[in-house]
């Protein structure tokens, strides 16, 4: 049983989705891949194509064990034979069945006798610690419990792949943290090729090893989580990572590099790239102060406080400078600065804190549209 588990998943899909053209190539080599993109980028359609709910114009979907879809060979397994466990944002439990009924629905391999089915359902309920919910109807249990039941139901089908479509988006932040921790345990234990779709990097950062960014139907970047975090290739990727990303043109100046961008932006970096670049500034490298910090190798932006958000034991502050910048500061700085909306502060960071990544030219043109 364990030996027959697939380790890898290859997905190639081309499909016209209304206005946008979906053209995605993904490879999951064991572990969890997070497919992240803004809404309408085609990420859910990728999942639907893998699960067999959408037949793409052209496509190839295969694990290392079997081919699920190959339009060129006219192979197209129906959804019910693909053995794909799918989890939806709204859990999508059958409202007219109890929790036990939902789990029994997809049992695989399907036991012949009723008592055997009952035993298997009980086993799944116990495994997911939802035994006390067995006879409850989905609308009477909490959002977190619903997601747990949905996962239990998917696992009860002995899936060979897992596809999770925004599994945390519909949950409040407290529940989200719980479900997320639980989900990461389960994903580790199940050890199946998994694709996790989200529009919010923060939701999936803890769950995935690899990240692919999809924008307007195309994969614009993929790699390990750290790679994408360290050098996001687009403004979207940088934004979800909570990283400041400023597109611009780099020119050498003295021993440093000067980056000029929209709105008279002028930044300094110790990196030595020339031409179209993205300047990446980690929020934790940015400090906030009431007075301007004077230094030749220092970047400094001035603007009002727009947003303050607590993330664990640090605080993210968005300053409405040109361009806007996010700083991540500690609790004592928060107290010292007396943060309040519209309070004008200086955001400063060292030239060494400005990391430059090259930008593709077409991307550069798109990013600089607003100049």
């Amino acid at each position: 049983m364990t030996d027959s588990k697939p380790r890898e998943l290859t997905v190639q899909v081309r499909h016209q989705l209304g206005r946008i053209r979906l053209d995605a190539h993904l490879h999951v080599a064991g572990g969890v891949l997070a497919l992240i993109g803004p809404s309408g980028s085609g990420k859910t359609s990728v999942l639907r194509a893998i699960s067999g709910l959408l037949k793409p114009d052209w496509g190839y979907v295969a694990t290392d064990k079997k081919v699920l879809l190959d339009t060129e060979q006219s192979i197209n397994l129906p959804a019910e034979e693909r053995r794909v466990g799918m989890l939806f944002q709204d859990a999508a439990l059958f409202p007219h069945m109890t929790v036990a009924g939902n789990i029994e629905y997809g049992l695989y391999p399907r036991p012949r006798s009723r008592s055997e089915r009952g035993d298997q359902v009980t086993a799944v309920l116990d495994r997911f610690r939802i035994g006390e919910l067995a006879s409850a109807k989905p609308r009477h249990i909490s959002g977190g419990e619903r997601q747990r039941v949905a996962l239990a139901r998917a696992v009860a089908t002995s899936p060979e792949l897992l596809l999770l479509d925004e599994p945390l988006s519909a949950l409040d932040s407290v529940t989200k943290a719980h479900v997320s921790a639980e989900l990461s345990q389960w994903l580790l234990e199940l050890n199946l090729p998994t694709i996790l779709v989200s529009h919010d990097f923060a939701d999936v950062v803890g769950l995935a090893d690899h990240v692919a960014i999809i924008e307007e139907g195309s994969i614009v970047q993929s790699g390990t989580k750290d790679q994408v975090l360290r050098s996001p290739a687009s403004a979207f990727a940088a934004a979800f990572a909570g990283i400041n990303f400023f597109p611009g043109e780099a020119v050498p100046r003295g021993g440093l590099t000067e980056i000029r961008g929209p709105g008279k932006m002028m930044l300094l970096s110790t990196d030595t790239l020339v031409g179209p670049v993205g300047a990446v500034v980690h929020p934790w490298d940015v400090s906030l102060s009431e007075q301007r910090l004077e230094s030749s190798a220092m970047n400094c932006l001035r603007g009002p406080v727009i947003q303050v958000a607590n993330i664990g034991n640090s605080t993210r502050v968005t300053i409405g400078s040109v361009p806007p910048i996010v700083a991540e500061i500690t609790g004592e700085s928060v107290d010292r600065l007396e943060l309040a909306p519209n309070r004008v502060l200086y955001a400063s960071w060292k030239a060494a804190g400005t990391r430059l990544v090259p930008r593709a030219l077409d991307g550069a043109r798109r990013d600089l549209d607003f100049v």
């Binding site: 639907r48 699960s51 067999g52 709910l53 129906p78 959804a79 019910e80 034979e81 693909r82 053995r83 794909v84 466990g85 799918m86 939806f88 709204d90 999508a92 059958f94 409202p95 007219h96 069945m97 629905y105 997809g106 695989y108 399907r110 109807k137 609308r139 139901r153 998917a154 089908t157």
Partner: protein
């Protein structure tokens, strides 16, 4: 206060004196029309209630229960009740059997020609029943489009109980299909997709997920269609005639007794139909309110 906030000081001096009478007139006029509207609404409601309720009560109120009972046990009434129940139930079974898959298709899929099919299925709703009857006759009658083919097969439809069923099905089908289509359309498509990924084929998905979730709509549609079939008169008269014990349903028997100036029998059968229709309507209301999995 209000005048002060948007008046200049000059207006303030004569403002109250000049504007108050005018405002009182505006307010008074408005109140007058409010009262008129309320009175008219109350009157209209009362008129409609009396208009509908009075004839219904009249059916029951004209004669004593004993006479009713006796009249209902007459051969004409018993035959009519039997024919009505038998034909309407057969018509209902046909409607539900054929209408359910069609409604599933119309409710869950988008395809070219769908609006045309929906319009076609709605046509019997607005078509005069007499036209439906003559149309059925033109299609299936002895000299109709299919008449000679049916004739060579030895099948004669007009003036048989099958013709009654066909007339009822023709006019009642839209009531079911409309409700059922809406019911299937309201089933969350996610759930149908989930069912597939859980290993259920389309048949299992239909019977275990789509049909139960559309269940209240299906039952309500079936009840409405049944009520319409029970009450069918015009199409039946033209296409099936009014033969006691074969094609004479309750509405036709009522008309027959009424024409023969047998008022008591007509009223008794009328009362029976009011009771039947009322019970069906109450059932529909209850079904519509139940989403039984809550």
């Amino acid at each position: 206060m209000e005048a002060g906030t948007h008046s200049t000081s000059q207006e303030l001096v004569r403002g109250p004196a000049a504007s108050q009478p005018a405002r009182r007139t505006v307010g008074g006029t408005r109140r007058f029309w409010d009262v008129v509207a309320a009175v008219l609404t109350g009157f209209a409601t009362a008129v409609l209630i009396v208009f509908i309720a009075l004839p219904l009560f009249a059916i029951f109120g004209k004669t004593s229960p004993a006479v009713f009972w006796e009249q209902l046990r007459s051969p004409v009434a018993l035959d009519a009740l039997r024919v009505s129940l038998a034909t309407s139930v057969v018509a209902l079974v046909c409607i539900v059997t054929l209408g359910t898959p069609v409604s599933y298709l119309l409710g869950t899929k988008r395809f070219p020609g769908r609006p045309i099919i929906i319009t076609l299925f709605e046509l019997p709703l607005v078509l005069p029943p007499a036209v439906a009857g003559i149309a059925l006759f033109a299609a299936f009658g002895r000299f109709g489009i299919l008449g000679s083919q049916l004739g060579t097969l030895g099948i004669q439809l007009p003036f048989t109980w099958v013709a009654v069923v066909m007339a009822q099905a023709f006019v009642a089908m839209p009531f079911f299909v409309r409700q059922a289509t809406a019911g299937f359309a309201s089933v969350d498509p996610h759930l149908l997709g989930v069912s597939r990924t859980l290993g259920a084929g389309s048949a299992r998905t239909f019977f275990r997920v789509a049909a139960p979730l559309a269940g209240p709509s299906l039952s309500a549609g079936a009840a409405l269609a049944w009520a319409r079939a029970l009450g069918e008169f015009g199409a039946t008269t033209l296409f099936a005639g009014s033969l006691q014990g074969t094609t004479q349903t309750l509405p036709l028997a009522i008309y027959g007794e009424f024409s023969a100036a047998n008022m008591e029998a007509a009223l008794a059968m009328g009362a029976l139909m009011v009771a039947l229709s009322g019970a069906i309507l109450a059932a529909v209301k209850m079904l519509r309110r139940t989403t039984y999995w809550k």
